[in-house]
């Protein structure tokens, strides 16, 4: 019974917080407008030189100001969108919009999206409470890691760029410690997993940087990295470290846990045999873990890939311009995931057979 009360309360809190985002316009400095009516008119069908056929529509939007000194006043806005909606937006009744005043005219800047974000977060929390997961650890790990990330963002925004890579490495170390301690507890496992994770990641990055240096960064267009944060190389390496770290932690934890289990079952197991077991367990993990990153990295670049392809570029040119960085990132990550297997097996074997024997 008590459980039901808890779930209903969480449900109500979730709905309440989500509903609050519909009336939170007071916290925004920009004017927010709620759309009350929309008239959409077809304007024309346009075909570009690459045979893209797009329909163009005009919208006449009436809305009501929700904040600022114009609160309650009605406003008329116009919007144009095309059927691909790549850089344009289509608006509907009920949506709230962020608007901007340019000279004397108001124009639509963007849709207000916080309701969906907060709603989905509430849904995730609710689902977690409906199931028998260990929520405290989960929330602890998410919140602590987010705090570290926010501090990292604060530092790279406010301190000269030269310390980007160092900040990223410190962030990565903190995230590793937090995650491992939260998941495994302050234990022997966590220590072994920490050593293996940091050594494997470091070696993979150093090896890859050396190989890229040998080939003079040929074919890797670092300057195409997203959003122009500099220095490009440091940005690229920081991104790679973040992206691969979770997967490598996953791997080292699995190998370490299995080896410790074997040691407990067979206390006098030989180094060689333990190492071999580690290799066997690790080999099973490599494929699926590389897959995880493969799909995440590809998905991230699909918008720009389709932009290039639809603009009459060949598939080769498109890959060269949009995916080389992603491919380099995947290769470095894969190298990391691969060398983690022998490194973790070795470290775990040495430490387990010495550490527990004592």
């Amino acid at each position: 019974m008590k459980n039901w009360v808890k779930i209903i309360i969480i449900c109500l809190i979730g709905i309440a917080i989500t509903a609050l985002t519909r009336i939170d316009s007071a916290i925004y400095s920009d004017p927010i407008v709620q759309v009350t009516s929309v008239k959409t008119n077809y304007q024309s069908t346009e075909t570009d030189e690459y045979k893209n056929v797009a329909k163009i529509y005009n919208q006449t939007i009436t809305g009501k100001f929700l904040n600022t000194k114009d609160k309650g006043k009605t406003i008329n806005l116009t919007n144009q969108y095309d059927s691909s909606l790549l850089m344009t937006q289509k608006y509907r009744v009920g949506q709230q919009l962020v608007v901007k005043k340019n000279s004397s005219e108001y124009s639509i800047y963007s849709q207000k999206r916080d309701t969906v974000v907060v709603g989905l977060i509430s849904l995730v929390v609710l689902i977690l409470f409906l199931m028998k997961y260990d929520r405290i650890r989960l929330f602890l790990s998410i919140v602590l890691n987010l705090i570290v990330f926010v501090i990292f963002m604060y530092i790279i925004i406010n301190v000269p760029k030269s310390i980007l890579l160092i900040s990223a490495i410190i962030t990565a170390l903190l995230v590793t410690i937090i995650s491992l301690v939260v998941i495994l507890g302050p234990s022997f496992n966590a220590l072994v997993a920490f050593l293996s994770t940091t050594i494997s990641t470091t070696l993979a990055i150093l090896l890859s940087v050396f190989l890229m240096y040998l080939s003079n960064n040929q074919n890797i267009h670092l300057e195409y990295s997203d959003y122009g944060l500099q220095p490009y190389f440091m940005v690229f390496i920081s991104g790679v470290i973040f992206s691969v770290l979770g997967v490598i932690m996953d791997e080292t934890m699995d190998i370490t846990a299995s080896l410790i289990e074997i040691k407990q079952e067979v206390p006098d197991v030989q180094d060689g045999k333990l190492f071999k077991s580690g290799m066997n367990i690790g080999r099973e993990l490599v494929g699926p873990l590389i897959n995880i990153l493969l799909f995440i990295v590809v998905a991230e670049h699909l918008n720009i890939v389709f932009l290039y392809l639809s603009n009459g570029n060949s598939i080769n040119y498109t890959i060269d311009m949009t995916l080389t960085l992603g491919i380099a990132q995947l290769l470095i990550s894969s190298i990391g995931i691969l060398i983690t297997v022998p490194i973790t097996s070795f470290i775990a074997t040495k430490i387990i057979n010495r550490g527990i024997a004592k």
Partner: protein, 247 residues
């Protein structure tokens, strides 16, 4: 780049040993499937139907190529199919309300000189992107949980249904935290440059919180987390069913 590739192949052979052929073959097929997906969508096939079909192929290969135990593989495959459809459904809803498709002013520099009124529907691409993003995570999670559960049942065949569910969650706990960690770290990797740029473009708080690209990244992470969370009960359900059939 070629050095990186050579190093990757050499390491695969050294580390994977006898399994290196299967491993490289599996990865190669996935790369081919991704290329087929991209070419088909660019040629005008429906993005969502294409994505679902290709995703099924990806899951079949990821699961049946890596898992030897037939029961485990079947359970994992059924679960991952359901999770993929669940993710597709949630993404439909979320995209309908948040309209986070395509690109935004942060991409302006990349967009120079391009025709932006295209024949492809980017809202559909946005849905496809989240489904593709989740494929590796879904297949790994479902395999990990179903093999963990099957191992437990093989050791203790007389477990009751509710005990199997409980074991599912205790196996699932560690997997859930590690997968969420992986996704969170990838969220960091893909947003730190974006947030930096938003700061240099002097975004106001409303522009920041409601930003199309940032919201897209947050929602992608959340939807994938929902997928991972549901993997445990669904796997447990199939495992219980199998268990009953055998008993």
């Amino acid at each position: 780049m070629s050095y990186l590739f050579i190093a990757f192949i050499l390491l695969s052979i050294v580390v994977m040993g006898k399994r290196s052929l299967t491993f490289l073959f599996g990865l190669g097929i996935n790369v081919v499937l991704i290329l087929v997906l991209v070419i088909m969508i660019a040629d005008g096939f429906d993005p969502i139907i294409t994505t679902v079909v290709i995703s099924i192929f990806v899951l079949v290969i990821a699961i049946y190529l890596n898992v030897e135990n037939y029961d485990t593989a079947n359970t994992a495959f059924k679960t991952s199919l359901i999770i993929m459809l669940l993710i597709l459904g949630i993404t439909f809803l979320v995209q309908h309300y948040a309209n986070f498709q395509g690109m935004w002013i942060e991409n302006q520099e990349e967009l120079e000189g391009f025709s932006l009124q295209l024949g492809i529907s980017f809202p559909e691409i946005a849905i496809a992107i989240i489904v593709i993003n989740s494929l590796g995570v879904i297949s790994e999670t479902s395999v990990a949980i179903s093999s963990g559960l099957n191992e437990i049942i093989d050791n203790k065949p007389d477990l009751t249904d509710s005990e199997i569910f409980n074991d599912g969650f205790s196996v699932g706990n560690k997997i859930l935290i590690t997968q969420i960690n992986t996704m969170l770290l990838n969220f960091f990797a893909s947003t730190f440059t974006l947030i930096y740029l938003m700061h240099s473009l002097k975004f106001t708080n409303s522009e920041f919180i409601n930003d199309k690209l940032l919201v897209a990244e947050i929602l992608t992470t959340l939807v994938c987390i929902i997928g991972v969370i549901f993997t445990v009960p669904i796997t447990s359900y199939f495992t219980v069913n199998n268990h009953k059939k055998r008993a």
